[in-house]
C-alpha cells in the first residue's frame, strides 16, 4: 500500500553512525524495559541470592568462611574469586539488581506520566459496537432516552464513577487508584533500594564484650569488631559512652532462657550516664544510634601472686560460651607484665563451667546458671608472642609459641572459687570469682526509617494494585422499535479481575430497578394493602 517515497534502485545513504548507535541504544532500552525482561531479571535475582545462603558469607560469619577455606583449600580461593563468600556485595549481584531497577524505572516513569495525563482526561468515548464487549446487554424502559441516561449517570456517580455525557451516550470510569497503586508500589521499590544503599554507605556498627563494672566509648578502636560504610568518617561517630552495671539472666524451670537484661548507663564522654535497662528485643534507641544486647557470658576473675609477693588481683577476662544450654565457656588470660621480663610471662587457657561437674577429672557444665562455678585451667609460662606483630585472638593462646617451645605448660588444675594452684616456681594462681559480661552492639543506620517508610508505601501500593478494579462503563440509548420506550445498551470493561460478569450483572440489575422506580407506573400500584 505505502509506496516508497524514494525511487527504487537509488540506494539511500546509510544513516549516519550516531543515528545508528542511537537506534541501537533505543532498541536495547526498549528490550531492557520490557516486562519480559523484568521477569527474567527477577528470576536472575532470585537465583543470584541462592549461593549466598548455601555458602558461608563473610558478612555473617568470618569464622565459618575461614573454616570453609581450611576444609576446601583448593576450591575456596576459586569461589572467592567469584565473590561467592560476599554474594550480596558482589559486583554481579549488584549488576542484576541495578539492571532490574533501571528496567523498572524505564517502564514505570512513562507509565506514571501517562497516568497523570489519564487522571486529567475524560473517560474515552463509548466504542461503536457496545454489544461486542464481553460484558454487555440491553435494558428496556418506558422512560424517555434523556431521562434514562440521567438515571444511569446518577447511579454511576453514586458509585464514584467519573462520567461524561454526550448526545445519547455516556462513558464512565473509576478505579484510577489501581494504577496509582501500581506506580506507588514500583516507585517504592526504587525508594527502598535507595534507602538500603544510603544505610550501607553512611551506616556503621560495632560490637564489644563488656564485663560488669566496665564500659566502652563509641570509637572504632574500642570495638572488638566493627563494620563501617565507605562514607563514614570516624570523626562523625556520636560521642557516646556506655557502662554496664549489671547483667541479669532469668530461666524457666526447664532452663529455657526467659529473659536477659542489662542495666547500663549511657551519656557523652565524661558525663554521669543516664541509667536504662535494655534486653533482648528491647534495644536502647537514641537519636540515630541504637544499642543492643546481643549475648552474654561469664568472665572468671583470677589472682596471681608471685613468690616475691607481687600480685595481680582480680583480673577478669571474658570466656566465650561454647554451648548455649550449659554456658560452658572457653577463654584465655594473658599476663605479659608480671615483672619477670619477656620470657617470664604467664598465661592460662581454660574452660569455665557456671555449674561444674567433675567426672574422671574432666570438668563439664550442667546448668547455665552460676550455681557452682569452676574452671579447668592449663597454665603456661614463657613468651606469649604478643609483640611479635602477628595479631592473635584474645580468647586463645598462640599455639605456634607453644609448638616452638617458647611457651611451656607448667600446671593444670580444676579450681572452684577461692581455690588456687601453685606453679613449680612458687607462683599461685587462684580463681577468685566471676562476673557476667554482656555482648553489646552499637548500630547506626541513617537509611532505616526511609526503608521502613518505603516498605509501608510499597505495601499500600500493592494492596491498591491488587484489590482495586479499573472499570469502565458505557451506555447508549436508542428509541425502542417495539414500543414507545427506550432501549438502553450497557457495557463494561474491567481490568484486574476475573469476576467481571457477576459484577456487571449486579450493576444492570440495580440500574433496571432504578429505571423502574422512576418510570411512570403503567398501572396504578396503590392496591389496598389490608385485604
Amino acid at each position: 500500500m505505502t509506496v516508497l517515497d524514494r525511487p527504487a534502485g537509488v540506494s539511500a545513504p546509510g544513516p549516519a553512525a550516531p543515528r545508528r548507535v542511537a537506534g541501537l541504544l533505543l532498541r536495547w532500552w526498549r528490550r531492557l524495559t520490557a516486562m519480559r525482561t523484568a521477569i527474567v531479571l527477577l528470576f536472575l535475582l532470585a537465583l543470584a541470592a541462592v549461593p549466598g545462603s548455601l555458602l558461608p558469607q563473610r558478612s555473617l560469619s568470618q569464622n565459618k568462611v575461614s573454616q570453609y577455606f581450611a576444609e576446601h583449600p583448593s576450591l575456596a580461593p576459586v569461589l572467592d574469586r567469584f565473590y561467592l563468600f560476599d554474594v550480596f556485595s558482589s559486583p554481579w549481584f549488584a549488576a542484576v539488581y541495578l539492571l532490574l531497577f533501571i528496567s523498572l524505572i524505564g517502564c514505570v516513569l512513562p507509565r506514571a506520566l501517562e497516568h497523570v495525563r489519564a487522571l486529567r482526561a475524560a473517560p474515552p468515548p463509548a466504542p461503536r459496537h457496545l454489544l461486542r464487549l464481553p460484558d454487555s446487554g440491553n435494558l428496556t424502559t418506558p422512560l424517555q432516552a434523556g431521562k434514562a441516561l440521567d438515571v444511569v449517570e446518577e447511579e454511576l456517580r453514586v458509585r464514584r464513577f467519573r462520567v461524561v455525557r454526550t448526545d445519547g451516550e455516556l462513558s464512565a470510569e473509576k478505579g484510577y487508584l489501581k494504577e496509582t497503586g501500581n506506580l506507588l508500589f514500583h516507585l517504592s521499590l526504587v525508594a527502598l533500594l535507595l534507602g538500603l544503599a544510603g544505610g550501607k554507605l553512611w551506616g556503621y556498627e560495632g560490637s564489644i564484650l563488656v564485663t560488669e563494672g566496665q564500659g566502652f566509648c563509641n570509637s572504632f578502636q574500642q570495638y572488638d569488631t566493627y563494620r563501617n560504610g565507605p562514607l563514614v568518617d570516624s570523626a562523625d561517630l556520636t560521642p557516646l559512652c556506655v557502662d554496664l552495671d549489671q547483667f541479669t539472666a532469668e530461666y524457666e524451670e526447664n532452663l529455657t532462657a526467659a529473659s536477659f537484661t542489662a542495666d547500663i548507663r549511657y551519656g557523652a564522654p565524661g558525663e554521669d550516664g543516664r541509667p536504662v535497662t535494655i534486653g533482648i528485643n528491647e534495644p536502647l534507641r537514641l537519636d540515630g544510634d541504637r544499642i543492643y544486647l546481643t549475648g552474654h557470658g561469664y568472665s572468671p576473675t583470677f589472682s596471681v601472686t608471685k613468690p616475691d609477693g607481687t600480685a595481680i588481683t582480680d583480673v577478669s577476662v571474658p570466656f566465650l560460651p561454647q554451648d548455649n544450654s550449659t554456658f560452658g565457656s572457653q577463654g584465655a588470660l594473658k599476663l605479659p607484665d608480671l615483672g619477670g621480663g619477656r620470657d617470664d610471662q604467664l598465661a592460662l587457657e581454660g574452660f569455665f563451667a557456671p555449674t561444674g561437674l567433675v567426672q574422671n577429672n574432666i570438668l563439664t557444665s550442667v546448668d547455665p546458671r552460676p550455681l557452682a562455678p569452676q574452671v579447668a585451667v592449663v597454665i603456661y609460662q614463657g613468651y606469649l608472642g604478643l609483640d611479635s606483630g602477628i595479631p592473635q585472638s584474645v580468647y586463645s593462646l598462640d599455639a605456634s609459641q607453644i609448638d616452638r617451645g617458647r611457651l611451656n605448660r607448667v600446671a593444670a588444675a580444676n579450681l572452684e572459687i577461692g581455690e588456687s594452684t601453685t606453679l613449680p616456681d612458687g607462683t599461685t594462681v587462684a580463681l577468685t570469682g566471676y562476673r557476667e559480661f554482656a555482648a553489646l552492639q552499637l548500630s547506626h543506620d541513617p537509611g532505616q526509617v526511609w526503608v521502613l517508610v518505603s516498605a509501608i508505601s510499597l505495601l499500600t501500593g500493592l494492596l491498591g494494585m491488587l484489590l482495586l478494579r479499573r472499570e469502565r462503563v458505557f451506555a447508549r440509548v436508542a428509541a425502542d422499535p417495539g414500543g414507545g420506550g427506550t432501549v438502553l445498551t450497557l457495557a463494561s470493561l474491567t481490568r484486574g479481575s476475573g469476576e467481571s460478569a457477576p459484577r456487571f450483572a449486579a450493576l444492570t440489575d440495580h440500574l433496571d430497578d432504578a429505571l423502574a422506580a422512576r418510570a411512570p407506573a403503567p398501572q396504578p400500584e396503590d392496591r389496598p394493602r389490608d385485604r
Binding site: S53, L131, N138, A257, N281, Q441, V451, L452
Partner: protein, 321 residues
Amino acid sequence: MTADSLASLSDSLFSITVALYSLAVVAFCAQLAFGRRPVRSPELVGAGAAGATTEVPPVETPPADDARGRRWGLVAMGLTVLGVLAHTGVLVFRGLATDRLPWGNMYEFATATVLVAVVAYAVLAVRAPGLRHLGLFVLAPVVLALVLIGLFLYADAGPLVAALRSYWLAIHVTTAIIGFGIFFVSGIASILFLVRSRYEARVADGEAPGSGIVAKLPAAAALDRVAHRTAVFGFPIWTFAVIAGAIWAEAAWGRFWGWDPKETWAFIAWVVYAAYLHARTTAGWRGRPAAWVNVVGLAVMIFNLLFVNMVSTGLHSYAGV
C-alpha cells in the same frame, strides 16, 4: 486441667486430625470414582460470553455428579470440616498448655501452616462447589505433611526462649503461616493446572476424553484462576510478613536485614511470587510457564521451612526442631 494433660490432649487431637483427614481422602476418592464424569465443564471456564442478554450464567456450578458421588462428596467435606476442628484443637490446647501462641517451634509452625492450607481449601470449596474436586489433591499432601511433621518435627510443649518473647511473634509468624498456607493451595492448583492443561490439549488434538481422575478435575482455566486468585491473596500477606520480620529483626538482632539464610530464602520466595504475578500478565509467559513459576515458588517455600531450619544454621535456628 494441668498443662501436661492439655499438652497430651493436643497430641491426641493431632492423631485424630490425621485420621479424619485420611478418611476424608478416602471419601474424596470415592466421590471421584463414583461421580459421573462431567460431559464437559464449560461452567467452569471463565464466564463472560453473555452475548446480547444481561443474563449471566453462574460462574461455577458443580460438575454433574450422580447421587452417589454427591453423597460421597458431602461426606468428604464433612470429614474435612471435622478434621479442621480437631486440627484447630491441636493448636488451641498447645497454646493453653504453654500459655503462649502455639507457633513457637517448627512442629507448631508447620502444623499451623497446614491448617491454613486446609481452611483456605475449605473456603474455596464452599464458595465455588466446583472446586470441591480439588479436595483429594489438597488433603492427600496434607495428610502426608502431617505424618511427616508428627514423625520428624514433633517437639514437646514448652516455654519460648527469650528471643521469641515479643509481640512480633504474633505479627510476623502468624502472617507468615497464613501466607504460606495460601501459597500451598495456590501451588497445588498450579500443579493440577499443568496436569489438566496437558490433558485438555490432548483431547483437543482428537484423543478420546479419558475417564480417569484428570478427566474429573475442574477445567484448566478454572484451576489457573484459582491458582492466581490465591496467589494474589497470599502475596500481600507474605509481603507484610517479610516486612514485619525485618522490623522484628531490627529490634532483636540489631539490623533489619542481614541476608541470614531464612531472610535470603524469604526474599527469593517473594521475588519468585512477584515473577509469577508478572508472568500471568505477560505475553509469552501466560499459562504453563507462569504455572511453573508458581510451582517453583511453592518449592522455595517448602525448602525455606525444611532445609533452612534443619540444615543450615542461622539466627532463625533457635525456633527448634
